[in-house]
C-alpha cells in the first residue's frame, strides 16, 4: 500500500479520463506493492528447489528455519544490541537451524523415500512452530527493525521500495550464485554428482553427508536474510512467517522443482498477483487463497503426461 502517496497530485484538464488513469495507477501501485512479497516467495522457492534438487527433500520447514534466525535478530535488537551484528547473529542462527534439520534428515532419513522425508519435515515444522511460538511469546507483537526503509526509485509515478528491490535482487543473486557455485567450484561439482547419482558419488569417496549439511546451511542462511527483509511488512509472528513456505512451494511447483528461473519468475508473479488482489475490495480478504489456486492449476496442468514411473 505504501508508495501511493503521490496519487492525489494528478489532476488534469481532462476530468473525463481522470478515473481511468487513477484506476490504472492504483493497479500499478498495488502490483508494485506485491514485489517485496514476490521477491521473498521467489527466494524461498528457489531455496526449496535447491534443496530438492541437491538432497532430494521437499522441505516444509524452509521458511521456519529462516524465521528462527529472524527472531534471533529481533530478540537481540529488542535487548538493545546494535542492528548489524544482530543481523549477522540471526543469519548464523538460521544457518545452524538449517544444519540441525539437515542433520536429522541425513542421519536418520538418508535412505528414506521422498514422501517419508517430506512427512518428516512436516512433523518438524509442527515442532519448530510450537517451540518458536513459545520462545517468542505467541502472537505478542514484536519490534522488528526495518533493515532497509525507504524507496529505491519511482516507476511510472509509483515508488518502488528498497526492500522489494533487495528481495528480488537477492533471489536473482542466489539463483546466479548457485549457478556459478554449482558449475565453477569443486564442491559444486561434487554436489551435482551427488544429486545425479548419490551412491555412485559415495562410492568415489565423496563426503556425501557433509555436502548435504552444506546445502542445508546455505539455504538456511539465505532464507533467514530474506525473511528479515520481509518480516516488518508482515505481522512478525513465528507462525505467519513459517507459513510463507506455502507460497514458496507454490513457486517451486511452477518451476516443477527443477528450474530456478521459472521458480524465480513464479514467485515474483505470485507476489504481484497477491498485490493486485489486495487492491480489489471484493477479493482482497481472500488473497491468501491465491497460492492454493496456483498450486491446483499447476498440478492439474502437469498431470497431462503423468505415467508409470519406475519407483512405483
Amino acid at each position: 500500500m505504501r508508495g501511493g502517496a503521490g496519487l492525489g497530485t494528478y489532476s488534469g484538464p481532462m476530468p473525463t479520463r481522470f478515473p481511468d488513469w487513477e484506476k490504472m495507477n492504483a493497479l500499478l501501485t498495488s502490483a508494485v506493492a506485491g514485489l517485496t512479497a514476490g521477491g521473498t516467495y521467489a527466494l524461498l522457492g528457489v531455496c526449496a528447489v535447491f534443496t530438492y534438487r541437491l538432497v532430494a527433500v521437499v522441505n516444509f520447514t524452509g521458511a521456519a528455519i529462516g524465521t528462527a534466525g529472524t527472531f534471533v535478530l529481533i530478540a537481540l535488537f529488542e535487548a538493545g544490541f546494535p542492528i548489524w551484528p544482530s543481523v549477522l547473529a540471526g543469519i548464523a542462527a538460521g544457518t545452524l537451524t538449517g544444519v540441525a534439520i539437515g542433520y536429522i534428515m541425513t542421519r536418520w532419513f538418508g535412505e528414506a523415500s521422498a514422501s517419508t522425508k517430506a512427512a518428516v519435515t512436516v512433523a518438524l515444522l509442527v515442532g519448530l512452530i510450537a517451540v518458536g511460538l513459545r520462545l517468542t511469546g505467541g502472537q505478542h507483537p514484536h519490534n522488528m527493525p526495518e533493515l532497509f526503509p525507504g524507496s529505491a526509485f519511482r516507476l511510472a509515478g509509483v515508488e518502488v521500495t528498497i526492500a522489494s528491490v533487495l528481495t528480488i535482487g537477492l533471489a536473482v543473486l542466489f539463483t546466479v550464485l548457485s549457478d556459478l557455485f554449482l558449475n565453477r567450484t569443486k564442491i559444486g561439482l561434487n554436489l551435482r554428482a551427488l544429486a545425479d547419482r548419490p551412491m555412485a558419488a559415495e562410492l568415489l569417496g565423496v563426503r556425501v553427508q557433509l555436502l548435504s549439511l552444506l546445502v542445508w546451511g546455505m539455504t538456511g542462511a539465505f532464507t533467514t536474510f530474506a525473511l528479515m527483509i520481509i518480516a516488518p511488512q508482515r505481522s512478525p509472528n513465528f507462525m505467519t512467517l513459517s507459513l510463507l513456505v506455502v507460497p514458496a512451494l507454490a513457486a517451486a511447483l511452477i518451476g516443477v522443482f527443477r528450474s530456478f528461473w521459472w521458480t524465480l519468475a513464479g514467485g515474483i508473479a505470485l507476489g504481484i498477483v497477491e498485490g493486485l488482489a489486495s487492491s480489489l475490495d471484493s477479493v482482497s480478504q481472500y488473497r491468501s487463497a491465491i497460492p492454493f489456486l496456483v498450486v491446483l492449476a499447476v498440478l492439474l496442468w502437469s498431470q497431462r503426461e503423468a505415467r508409470w514411473d519406475e519407483a512405483r
Binding site: 569443486k186 561434487n190 551435482r192 554428482a193 545425479d196 547419482r197 558419488a201 562410492l203 568415489l204 569417496g205
Partner: protein
C-alpha cells in the same frame, strides 16, 4: 599377501539369502574372475563388498583391515573402488567433470585417465549421457581409478557392448592388474574374462560352486556349460 580377503560372507536381500558363505581372495597384480548365470548372486556380492547393501555375516578385509561395517565412502577411502553395472556415469556432467569428481586423492591426475583411455580425450567436454556405451564404460573405470584404489571391483562391464570394445576393455583391465592392482571382475560372458583372469570363481544360487584356475576352466567348456545352462549340479573341485 592377498590384498582383499573375503571370508564366510553372507548377504540377504529383502530377507532372502542371496549370497551364502562366500570365501574369495584377490591378489595384487591378479584378476579374480567371478562367473555365474544371472541371479547367481554376483552383483549382490560386489554390492556387499563395497557397502551398497549391508552384509548379514562374514568379514571383508583389505590389507588386514576389516571393512564390513564401514560406509561405502569410507571403504572407498580405504582403497576399495567399485565400478557398478549399468555404467553409472553422472549423466548431467561432462566427461572431464565426471573424472574430476574423484580427484580428492593427492597425486591423482586426470592425465592418467586419459593415458589409459585416449578415446576419452576428444570427448572431454561432452555430456556423459551422450557418450556411447563403450565410452561410458571407459569413463566409469577411469573415474574409479582416480580414487587411487588398491582393489578394483568391476561388475558386468561387457554387457551390451560390441565384441571389439569388450576386447579393448579387457586388455585395459589386464594392464591395470599387471601394474599392481587387485581386480575382481564379475562377468556373465565367460570366455574373454577367463582368458585375461588368473583365478576363477563360479557362483550358483549364492554359493561358490567352483574355485580354481582360470586356464583350467577355460579348457573344459563342457563343465562351464553345465555350470551355466543347467544339468546336474557341478561338483566343487578342491
Amino acid at each position: 599377501m592377498s590384498r582383499l580377503v573375503v571370508s564366510n560372507l553372507s548377504i540377504d536381500r529383502a530377507e532372502l539369502p542371496v549370497v551364502s558363505s562366500v570365501d574369495l581372495v584377490s591378489e595384487s597384480g591378479a584378476i579374480s574372475v567371478v562367473l555365474g548365470a544371472n541371479g547367481a548372486g554376483k552383483t549382490t556380492l560386489l554390492e556387499g563388498l563395497s557397502g551398497i547393501i549391508p552384509v548379514a555375516g562374514g568379514t571383508i578385509a583389505i590389507d588386514g583391515r576389516e571393512l564390513q561395517k564401514a560406509r561405502p565412502g569410507a571403504r572407498s577411502r580405504e582403497g576399495l573402488a567399485h565400478v557398478e553395472q549399468g555404467r553409472t556415469v553422472f549423466r548431467q556432467l561432462t566427461t572431464e567433470e565426471n573424472l574430476r569428481v574423484s580427484l580428492h586423492h593427492p597425486g591423482a591426475d586426470i592425465a592418467e585417465a586419459y593415458a589409459l583411455f585416449p578415446e576419452l580425450v576428444q570427448r572431454r567436454s561432452v555430456k556423459a549421457s551422450l557418450l556411447s556405451g563403450g565410452e561410458q564404460q571407459m569413463l566409469v573405470i577411469a573415474r574409479a581409478l582416480l580414487t587411487r584404489p588398491k582393489v578394483l571391483l568391476i561388475d558386468e562391464m561387457s554387457a551390451g557392448l560390441a565384441p571389439v570394445i569388450v576386447t579393448r576393455l579387457m586388455t585395459a583391465v589386464r594392464k591395470l592388474a599387471d601394474d599392481g592392482l587387485a581386480v575382481v571382475l564379475v562377468e556373465q560372458f565367460a570366455a574373454l574374462a577367463l582368458s585375461i583372469g588368473n583365478r576363477a570363481y563360479v557362483m550358483r544360487r549364492g554359493r561358490v560352486v567352483y574355485d580354481g584356475d582360470c586356464a583350467k576352466l577355460r579348457q573344459s567348456p563342457d563343465e562351464l556349460h553345465r555350470l551355466y545352462l543347467g544339468g546336474a549340479e557341478a561338483a566343487v573341485p578342491v
